[in-house]
């Protein structure tokens, strides 16, 4: 007992800051295929160690190994690869469009494409995601039109949200994508409520809640876990741990719990960690959790261990708070490269076909962008009307808003 009598205040720090050499030697990574796959009706108390391991399917040689492998056909994997490549290209074009002044703001997924793209394929039509701002792969992988996404990003005359919402805060009930708020963590408990409603209605649909590592510190995260646990809600509780909450390393939100998945243990919720850069592992774990929800076995908490290779948003510069080379040192690699190598290993893909696909996707994205821009961009061309600003707040416009609209001359 050193220094008895004098209290010391503890503030966690990341291992390395700018100028230092990236070091992930403290990240313990289980070998691919080494984590068992329990039955979905497993007693949560017997799998508590899974909250501290990492489920992985793709090994260093690009082979799919272990009990979580074998769920997806080559065709499905090729489609998944295309979704991730599309999302990355979409991001690059929109990031550039933001720099060109065509919109105010953008958030990309660089390095995290597998999480939302693979998860979407584990759901059924009618299921509902309550996403954060970094799950556009849910839309891409469900065939939501890129032009519509871009119209929203540009807040142009064809924006389905009439210019009312920040770029990338999409909404599509049809595609199981709940309106993104821009607030943090609020959607997590809403997802649980949606799932409760589905159970109350004796429906078969499930919900998926999404949150980032930093926002797990919000009280709504804990509200969600209490309600999900109490009512055994049919919901998959996703935590995307991309290591960084803007400039704040994950240790500030995580505290002493070891992992974010471990947050679920106190609620008796089965809690798994998965390699978020492994398309096959993400899909397999999502499928397991979704099946549990659908079979009345209740919620599952899943932590996706990944790395935000890009900036937090178009307003952020990560070089101010982490080494520039940290992304390259991330031990779980890049999700697109890993799936590509796996497919090449299977003999269904090649570098040439990959390059060809990249070119095709770029053409498709550029064509969508041209079409979207024909409807206007934030500061040029067609835009939503001033009248749109007043409408749609209530089902029926109340008298005071009608008076204000008249004052505004619209």
């Amino acid at each position: 007992m050193a220094d008895a009598g004098m209290l010391r205040f503890h503030v966690p720090e990341p291992e390395v800051r700018p100028g230092g050499t990236p070091d992930f030697s403290n990240v313990t990574i289980a070998a691919a295929g080494s984590v068992p796959r329990p039955d979905i009706d497993v007693d949560p108390r017997t799998i508590r160690d899974m909250a501290f391991s990492i489920i992985r399917v793709l090994n260093r040689d690009g082979e799919a190994v272990g009990p979580w492998a074998g769920l997806l056909s080559s065709e499905e994997l090729l489609e998944g690869l295309r979704h991730m490549m599309t999302l990355r290209t979409f991001d690059a074009r929109m990031q550039m469009a933001q720099r060109q002044g065509k919109t105010s703001f953008y958030m990309q997924h660089l390095g995290e494409e597998a999480v939302s793209c693979a998860f979407r394929k584990a759901l059924e039509p009618g299921d509902m995601n309550f996403p954060t701002y970094r799950q556009a792969g849910l839309l891409i992988a469900d065939g939501y039109p890129m032009v519509t996404m871009m119209n929203q990003i540009y807040s142009n005359e064809a924006d389905p949200l009439k210019g009312r919402q920040l770029p990338i805060m999409y909404s599509s009930k049809e595609h199981g994508f709940f309106s993104i708020s821009g607030n943090l963590a609020t959607q997590y408990i809403q997802a649980v409520g949606w799932a409760m409603a589905s159970a109350i209605s004796n429906d078969s649909k499930i919900a998926a809640a999404w949150i980032g590592d930093g926002s797990t510190a919000e009280s709504d995260f804990h509200s969600a876990l209490v309600f999900a646990s109490t009512y055994k809600a049919p919901v998959v509780l996703n935590v995307v741990n991309n290591q960084w909450a803007i400039s704040t390393f994950q240790g500030i939100a995580r505290g002493g719990s070891g992992t974010f998945a471990a947050r679920g243990l106190g609620f008796g919720i089965p809690s798994l960690r998965v390699d978020g850069n492994d398309y096959l592992a993400v899909h397999a774990v999502a499928k397991w959790a979704a099946e549990r929800a659908r079979k009345n076995l209740g919620p599952t908490l899943v932590e996706y261990v990944t790395y935000r290779a890009g900036a937090h948003s178009s307003s952020d510069d990560p070089s101010a708070y982490r080494p520039k080379t940290e992304s390259d040192a991330w031990p779980l690699g890049d999700p697109i490269v890993r799936l590509k190598n796996h497919l090449i290993g299977l003999g269904v893909w090649s570098d040439e076909r990959h390059a060809q696909a990249e070119a095709e996707i770029l053409d498709t994205v550029i064509a969508a962008q041209k079409e979207a821009e024909s409807h206007g961009t934030l500061h040029a061309g067609g835009k939503p009307s001033t009248r749109d600003m007043f409408e749609g707040l209530y089902a029926e416009m109340p008298p005071h808003l009608r008076r204000q609209r008249q004052q505004a001359g619209v």
Partner: protein, 337 residues
């Protein structure tokens, strides 16, 4: 016609709504088996089962947040916050989520929820069981705010709120639950069974949101009030002999501005009464609207009687509560101005 307390009327509104529409669900702290600390949901779980009426964890953000998710699914949740003073953990969910969901998604998702909460003091509840936070809701674009003053209205307004396609804050003046309290705390309260507004018809009826009611017609001065203050104002009018026209606003947003303007233009004088703190209270909005719309008809400054700008105290409850003496003084001063 049967007479009911306000508690019974509110319970009947939920009963009727749950009976008519299986999408209506009711939950909150102590709301299920026990029937709520004020007993507003008594018997609903036994009648409709615990998937339609159930207990919630002590977590207001969770109660409102989950209700928003249920509404997005297609249910019509009517939830209880045990005291309005407990709503602050849910304020983010109410103001930035429930209020804006229709707008931000352009109608892709909507939020037809009702959030009931007992409001106001007069029961020695101290600073955490006495607050009147209505202005914190009327200031938020996208919410509707309702404050009934009697059993008849409480039932009709609550059914209208449950059937409304948008989020409604339903503030229940707890001092009125058992009778029309007029601020004379040293006298017994007349029970609702002896009051004509205790008459509550069986079955389904609505009182439309956004319509005020004239509780006392008069020609000298207009009193704008809601909730408990309606009866305090009536007592003050009787005790001063001033012929006040007392308007019970019933809904603060949308507000029945036409009724207010018509009355003030007739009387030329206006006194605004509420139990909530004065500064930036809803009375400030009312005062500004009267000034903007009735300036050339006013014969006296618009007066406000409100709770003092302090937390609601415990021992000094009746020094704090804007009772009939303070309202009477404001009426006299407004008449003499």
């Amino acid at each position: 016609m049967p007479r009911r307390t306000m508690i019974e009327a509110i319970r009947d509104a939920m009963d009727v709504s749950m009976g008519r529409d299986e999408k209506v669900v009711v939950f909150g702290e102590d709301v299920g088996f026990f029937g709520g600390v004020f007993r507003c949901t008594q018997g609903l779980q036994a009648k409709y089962g615990k998937t339609r009426c159930f207990d919630a964890p002590i977590n207001e953000s969770g109660i409102v947040g989950s209700a928003i998710g249920m509404a997005a699914y297609g249910l019509k949740p009517c939830v209880e916050i045990q005291f309005a003073d407990y709503m602050y953990p849910a304020y983010d969910q109410l103001t930035q989520e429930a209020a804006r969901l229709r707008y931000r998604s352009n109608g892709d998702f909507t939020c037809p929820i009702v959030v009931r909460m007992p409001t106001g003091g007069g029961i020695f509840g101290g600073q955490t069981h006495s607050q009147s936070p209505e202005a914190l809701f009327t200031h938020v674009s996208g919410l509707k705010t309702v404050v009934p003053s009697n059993p008849h209205d409480a039932k009709g307004l609550l059914i209208a709120a449950i059937e409304d396609p948008d989020p409604v804050i339903f503030l229940e003046p707890k001092r009125l639950y058992n009778g029309p309290f007029d601020g004379h705390h040293d006298r017994p309260v007349t029970p609702w069974s002896k009051h004509e507004l205790g008459e509550v018809a069986d079955g389904h009826y609505t009182v439309p949101l956004g319509k005020a009611a004239i509780r006392r017609a008069g020609s000298d001065v207009t009193v704008l009030a809601y909730g408990t203050m309606v009866y305090v104002a009536q007592a003050a009018a009787e005790e001063t002999g001033i012929d006040a026209e007392i308007i019970d606003l019933r809904t603060l947003l949308p507000l029945d501005l036409d009724a207010i303007v018509a009355s003030v233009k007739k009387t030329g004088r206006c006194v605004i009464v509420h139990e909530a703190t004065l500064t930036s209270g809803f009375g400030a909005e009312l005062s500004a609207l009267v000034q903007e719309n009735c300036f050339y008809h006013l014969e006296a400054p618009v007066a406000r009687v409100a709770g003092w700008d302090t937390p609601y105290p415990h021992a000094q409850e009746w020094d704090y509560f804007p009772g009939p003496a303070r309202v009477s003084r404001a009426l006299i001063e407004t008449m003499e101005a």
